[in-house]
Subunit: 288 residues, 2 copies
């Protein structure tokens, strides 16, 4: 029977650790502060924001919510970002994307100081992930996968890891991060042949599914005794949340598996807070 | 019998194409100019520089050689980079590395404008490779591999490509570039198990060897009918140049193979010139 790699215990342990670091920061007169920038009232943004606010409360981190009308102009938004960059009391930023279509998202993201980019939206953070040089921060979801490995003591060195998906928010950064831990990586995507796709899944020690396609990774694409990390969050035809992995087919095969929901997604706000703590700690080092 | 993927015909065709673009630029009053920054008299730097000067001559590109004493201070070198960034007549820069140990190489590289970074030494160029957004330029050797694929009509889409090596100058960027062409990638490195290493080599459609270890990829790690790109340039125990692939073992197996020397290494200066031409063309677009 597969071990359930639940997200909640990971998030709890991370929050405990982060809140201790927050106390140490407060003792030095630093209140870690996250700015959340949101345009409009997208329900999924609001839901995530709500989760982040609760997690910030538990961690002892202050949050500055900057809510702008959906019709905010690019120049106005860029002024907001400039203000955040210049405001030493704000250590990190979460800005919801996609931004409305009248805004050039790339230009706005690039304006943000990578040191305050908590979710890998700047090219500085992306270079940091690719070069493994500590610049900026990886996307929270990619970091959440690593936290799950660490929490459950899953060794990566010398392991074969197959990553399904090549997006900049998860596939590519998580591939670089697991290879940084000395895993051998294979990356499959929409243009991989069906045969290679299934073989790469079957032969892996660890599978990371991040395609955004409901239950695409079924028993044919999996082997025995694997660790399966399912990053997908999809809604199936019956309106139920499900992952990229067919959980019922995978569970009897796997050694360990993350469920959806209650898996990777439960860890992301704890990662966000950890990034804020790191940014606040680095801000002291810069001052000294 | 394996097809020889010689570098020289690739370099010649590229130079022909680049020189036509140079003529078009000159007709618009733009003389493409490369600055070469070298500290000291390292023989391998001098050898490469000599090749670059000849290639520039053939392409019609002007070169500004900036030769500094090995003892040049970091501040002096940074002043040189600042000057290059500000000089609109210089379109691209090649700076030899490693820099002497008293210089913080990362800080110096970061000072260079990615738009003038012809060889992937800035984090801007690295982010450009990772994000595939056209920022900066990939390392010339990584681009040289892509030029060989293109010149010899080697399709990448849906192919299994195994990359041996995970360096920032070749393994990682070339992996992102071949995946950008829709190949399925596997990356092996020093921490890959011997079994996985050999299997990944045998099962690939295309092998890219970039480990810097003489003849490490032998018949045991190769399959039948593969395309083999050998990026390694090593000196063996008898003082002969050789690649990362055991050429004599690989040749009877391969469908096509790059020799060492006369393979990938022969293409890099032509790539450097192509990057300078692109930078010069972009400089017009910026002005307009």
């Amino acid at each position: 029977m597969a071990e359930m790699l639940l997200g909640l215990p990971v998030a709890k342990a991370m929050t405990q650790s982060s809140s201790e670091r927050v106390e140490a920061l407060k003792a030095k007169g630093i209140l870690p502060m996250l700015a959340i920038v949101r345009l409009g009232q997208n329900p999924s943004d609001l839901s995530y924001e709500n989760g982040a606010l609760k997690r910030a409360e538990k961690t002892g981190i202050a949050v500055k919510q900057i809510v702008l009308p959906e019709g905010t102009s690019q120049e106005e938004l860029m002024d907001v970002i400039r203000g955040i960059n210049a405001d030493d009391s704000i250590h990190g930023v979460l800005m919801f994307r996609p931004l409305p279509k009248h805004i050039d998202e790339k230009t706005v993201c690039e304006m943000l100081d990578p040191a305050k980019d908590m979710d890998g939206i700047t090219s500085g953070s992306m270079a940091g992930v690719f070069m493994e040089n500590g610049m900026g921060y990886p996307p929270c979801t990619a970091s959440a996968v690593m936290e799950i490995f660490d929490h459950y003591g899953i060794e990566l060195k010398g392991k074969k890891v197959t990553i399904f998906g090549r997006s900049l928010v998860i596939g590519k950064p998580v591939a670089m991060m697991v290879m940084g831990r000395h895993a051998t990586i294979t990356m499959c995507h929409s243009r991989t042949t069906a045969e290679d796709f299934a073989q790469a899944g079957r032969e892996a020690d660890i599978v990371i599914a991040a395609l955004g396609r409901a239950r695409m990774i079924d028993a044919e694409k999996l082997g025995q005794g694997q660790v399966i990390i399912d990053v997908g969050i999809n809604v199936d035809e019956e309106g139920n949340l499900c992952g990229d992995v067919d959980f019922h087919q995978a569970k009897p095969l796997a050694k360990a598996i993350t469920p959806v929901p209650k898996g990777v997604g439960s860890v992301t706000t704890a990662v966000l807070m950890k990034h804020v703590v790191e940014a606040a700690e680095k801000s002291i080092q810069v001052q000294m």
